[in-house]
């Protein structure tokens, strides 16, 4: 498709404390219908969104982390995690609920620069 644009969703907030993570995920699912080249980037506290093993009964909030595993069905397959942010939080690739590509901060910056549209959450 010639008008296929590169979209990146930049996620920088931890889940549950604010609504950004859930809002971002919902916008991703809705825009997936438009058949564009979509990437999800997880920077800073955004890497916490993908942490395995969330148990939200105690805070009476819906655990939306399993939905990241449905992204594949929506043809959203490019998930990038910033290496420095992951390491600063004591996390590694095995801590995530989905498969991701880990990029250095510099690589992430370059990928961001290549996008047509960047949406920030």
């Amino acid at each position: 498709m010639s008008d296929n644009k590169k979209f990146m969703f930049v996620n920088r907030k931890a889940p549950y404390g604010t609504i950004y993570a859930l809002e971002s995920l919902e916008v991703v699912l809705i825009t997936a219908a438009f058949d564009q080249d979509v990437s999800l980037a997880f920077l800073d506290d955004g890497v916490y969104q993908l942490k395995k093993g969330m148990q939200t009964k105690g805070i009476e909030t819906k655990n939306f982390s399993p939905t990241y595993r449905a992204l594949e069905d929506y043809d959203v397959e490019k998930l990038y995690v910033e290496k420095e942010a992951m390491e600063a939080r004591g996390l590694n690739e095995d801590d995530f609920i989905v498969g991701v590509t880990v990029l250095s901060r510099a690589e992430m910056g370059k990928l961001m620069d290549e996008q047509d549209v960047v949406l920030s959450f």
Partner: protein, 99 residues
């Protein structure tokens, strides 16, 4: 005095301000996104460990468990439930919520 913090330590300077401001012997309660400060391996670990020498640090477990980190509680931090949260507000003469 009880100090309640709800911001992530790696995104906001709130917890650091709190720890730098409070007098020795007080209680700090980490809730919502501040619970990330109480996880082992985080870049804030050394700062929190240093603070634990002069004050008592508590973490609200339902918030830590919601974030998938119930099993990464940093040694020395005291886990509390909602009843424990209430007990802290009662046992302290006053309280500051760091917004």
């Amino acid at each position: 005095m009880l100090h309640i913090v709800n911001k992530s330590p790696l995104t906001s300077g709130t917890l650091e301000s709190c720890l730098n401001t409070m007098v020795d012997g007080g209680d700090v309660l980490l809730i919502e996104d501040a619970v990330y400060a109480a996880t082992a391996g985080s870049a804030f670990e050394s700062k929190l460990s240093a603070a634990m020498g002069r004050c008592k640090v508590h973490v609200l477990m339902p918030d830590l468990e919601a974030r998938g980190l119930g099993d990464r509680l940093l040694a020395g931090v005291s886990p509390v439930d909602y009843a424990g949260f209430v007990a802290l507000t009662v046992s302290n003469k006053n309280c500051q919520s760091w917004l």
